[in-house]
Amino acid sequence: MPTLDKLTFNQESFDAHLADWNALPWLQAIKRENWEAFQSLPMPTRKDERWRFSGIKDFSLDGFRPATAPSDSRKAELLAKSELVKDSAGRLVFADNTLVQHDEVSAELKAKGVIWMPLQQACLEHPELIQKYFLAEESRLGSDKLLALHNAFLQGGSLLYVPKGVVIEKPLLSYYWSCDCEEAIFPHTLLIAEDNAKVDFVDYYGSMKDDCDCPALSIGVGTIHAGQGAQIFRKIVQNYAPATYSFQSEANVAGRDANVKTIAVNLGSKYARFENQVRIAEAGAEVKMYSLTVATGEQEFDQRTLQVHAAPNAVSDLLYKNALLDDSHTIFSGMILVEPEGQQTDAYQTNRNLLLSPTAEASSLPGLEIEANDVKCSHGATTGQIDEEQLFYLMARGMPKKIAHQLLVFGFFEEIIEKVDNDELKDNLRTLVQGKFTNS
């Protein structure tokens, strides 16, 4: 509920939160450490290259507090909305950091050793797993302060552990809902795939009310640990209400010959920062990073990526597509970092911006830092509009201009959407993207 008092994260709210974790002193220690780090770290500013062009200066943490548990009626309402993919191997639904629903994996998968549960439960039941992988991968993209806050107040979150050689065909899903104004949620997804495991995963980030115009905050973290030969395909759909501030930070690790693929679909929020970092730790890995963004109104999408090649013979490919309408602003800042060990690297990075309004603004900062010589690296960034010749071609075949225009725009997105391997999800994503178009 909105109040007149100035809200913020303080010692009092932290102590209250910490009391919920009395059963896990080792985790409390981590939280305390992060709370201290949060207090001493400065807020990021545009002077930091990793925040160049960003609208972070208009954002303040003042006025936000940790979210409180939602009512039962709300829980039921949100559960009904959590149906992006009906046919799933497992589902976790969180609302305001609180667990709403836990659809467990089949007994067969459980017998094979698959662990699928809320993070808090996993901390109690499988501490050795959490201690090994939780926060093990450092994010280098500049959100240190926000991540410290995330770690200090983390409550809801999903853990998926897939043991050696186990293949899960159907997708697993995590839904993270934000319900109230001025409240902050801290979604967390931790995926661990052991050698030769295979998994398909979907994260959905959304708001209780789509038309809510008071601010909410989400600081999310996702991590993939892909073992030797593991195959992970993860889709991330961000569709918060238009007044939300969203910070999402991904830090993934690919092992030997692993295949890690992520697709991000960015639709919601007032300001949405998406950091996607992948470290190729062992030889032969193949990493794909795709993203599709529709920016309308005064939305700002701040995308930062980092492809680290710390081992030889690996491939990474990145394609980020942004369509900009109205007064929106998108930033794409990417970096391919090939360390001296990264010989025989093939790394690519492509950013395509489609400007559909005279006042939209696209910033592109595609970067390369190469310290090995036997590599193939390239990046390309283009910013332009609908091709007049293509438009003419369609119109010459009797199509009205408006429809032809729309078709070309949807064609622009289709390149990303068709990479999704699940037909149900594909259709739902198309509906979401097109819905955003017709509403604006």
């Binding site: 006042t359 696209a362 910033s363 970067g367 310290e371 590599v375 910013t383």
Partner: protein
């Protein structure tokens, strides 16, 4: 396949020579307000220039080092050890006979042939801070072209130069433009009158010849409506043990319909910090081209830019950088579109040899509601050895749906097949590598005037010596 890096063994003593200096004016080391007064008094400057210098000094002292984005190597410059002004005390010589003998000897060592020296009639040969040799060809004078040093330009032609001096690059643009504005001496001020097309390129040779001596040239070129000109600068410098600072400012103004082409071949010795600010302003239908080649120096930071201020203006930067052991070539380009239908093109090629590091840093800005603006950027990097390094940091900011921008960059190595093919035909590996590198930059080298492209190829061959094997 990775090749091990062999020891680089080049005879660095080539060009490693200098002569005893005796200077009539020496402002001592360090930069303070009295240094400024000393320079101003020595030159007999107008009061407004003195004020301009002092204001710039304040800005220089207040501005932090740009190490938030640039290399930390900048911190190794000890500003207090630099001599900011040295001069022989003579006026720019008019005839060859008046040039002092030891300066002539330096030209001798530079290998400028006798016949060419006469041809250097239109050349400002810069020996340390003062133009010791400066004669304008008579036909240039007849055309009304003004080709003088900055002091003469500001003192005798204020009505022409004052209007644009420090306007394209204000003193506060960055720390090093402020430094230059505070203590500039030497350089060229050029005015090309309306409709005049200068057939031969105007040239300037710069030389550094005093230990720890920062050279701060200031160049301002104004091409009036419909005129055309080409300016060339080439640098060689003798080798010293302690770091030398070089920080120039070059401003170009192309008035409606004018064309300016500015060509640089930079080959400073391996201890020089070369921190240069270069920018042009192109009015309606004007064109500015920067052709830039950086081979020497310890650290070069140079991002030639064009502000496209008038409708249909055009800007271009063609750049070649070669970074060898101990060198960092941090170069790039800036294109600021400020009018409709403006176009810009950036082509950058860099080669990293041994432990050399080359960096491309670019900025393309299409602000507000402009229409029909286009930019094309291509940057290619070639890595020769396993421990060579290259970086690319472009920034592209585009607003509005009537503009288009494309940027492409690639990093590669010379393919083993190419080398093998050439070896089959009797070349040794080094020659083959040299040929491949020359091929990589060939389409840009062709843009240089003949004598420069020959010199450039020779320089690349020299740098590639011993890089493989």
């Amino acid at each position: 396949m990775s090749t091990p890096t062999p020891d680089i063994d080049i005879d660095r003593s080539k060009g490693d020579f200098h002569f005893a200096e005796d200077y009539a004016f020496d402002a001592g080391t360090g930069l303070r307000e009295d240094t400024i007064d000393y320079i101003s008094d020595a030159k007999g400057e107008d009061e407004w220039v003195r004020e301009f210098r002092k204001k710039a000094l304040k800005i220089f002292q207040d501005k932090p080092m740009p190490t938030s984005w640039a290399t930390k190597d900048l911190e190794n410059i000890v500003f207090d050890d630099v001599r900011y002004y040295l001069a022989k005390g003579q006026k720019a010589s008019r005839t060859w006979e008046e040039v002092p003998d030891d300066v002539k000897e330096t030209f001798e060592r530079l290998g400028i042939p006798e016949s060419e020296r006469k041809f250097l009639a239109g050349v400002e040969a810069q020996f340390d801070s003062e133009a010791v040799y400066s004669r304008m060809k008579e036909d240039l004078e007849k055309l009304g072209v003004i080709f003088v040093g900055p002091h003469e330009g500001l003192h005798e032609y204020p009505e022409i130069f004052k209007k644009y001096f420090g306007k394209v690059i204000p003193s506060g643009d960055n720390k090093f433009s402020a430094l230059n504005s505070a203590c500039f001496s030497g350089g060229s001020f050029i005015y090309i009158p309306k409709g005049v097309k200068v057939a031969q390129p105007l040239q300037a040779y710069f030389r550094i010849n005093a230990e720890n001596f920062g050279q701060f040239e200031r160049t301002l070129i104004i091409a009036d409506e419909g005129s055309e000109m080409t300016y060339m600068e080439g640098c060689t410098a003798p080798k010293f043990d302690t770091a030398t600072l070089h920080s120039a400012v070059v401003e170009l103004v192309a008035l409606p319909g004018a064309k300016i082409q500015y060509i640089t071949v930079q080959n400073w010795s391996n201890n020089v910090f070369n921190l240069v600010t270069k920018r042009g302003m192109a009015m309606e239908e004007a064109e500015i081209r920067w052709i830039d080649c950086n081979i020497g120096s310890r650290l070069t930071m140079k991002y030639p830019g064009v502000i496209l201020k008038g409708r249909k203006a055009r800007g271009e930067v063609l750049s070649i950088a070669l970074a060898n052991d101990g060198q960092h070539q941090d170069t790039g380009a800036k294109m600021v579109h400020a009018a409709d239908e403006t176009t810009s093109n950036i082509i950058s090629k860099s080669i990293s040899v041994g432990k050399g590091r080359s960096t491309y840093r670019g900025l393309v800005q299409i602000p507000k509601h402009l229409k029909g603006c286009k930019n094309n950027t291509e940057c290619d990097a070639l890595l020769i050895n396993t421990n060579s390094r290259t970086d690319t940091y472009p920034a592209i900011n585009v607003r509005g749906d009537h503009n288009s921008v494309q940027h492409e960059a690639s990093v590669s190595k010379v393919s083993a097949e190419q080398i093998f093919y050439m070896q089959q035909r009797g070349m040794n590996e080094g020659e083959a590598m040299s040929l491949a590198v020359n091929g990589f930059v060939n389409d840009l080298v062709r843009e240089f005037p003949m004598e420069y492209s020959v010199e450039l190829k020779r320089l690349i061959d020299l740098e590639m010596e011993g890089s493989v094997g």
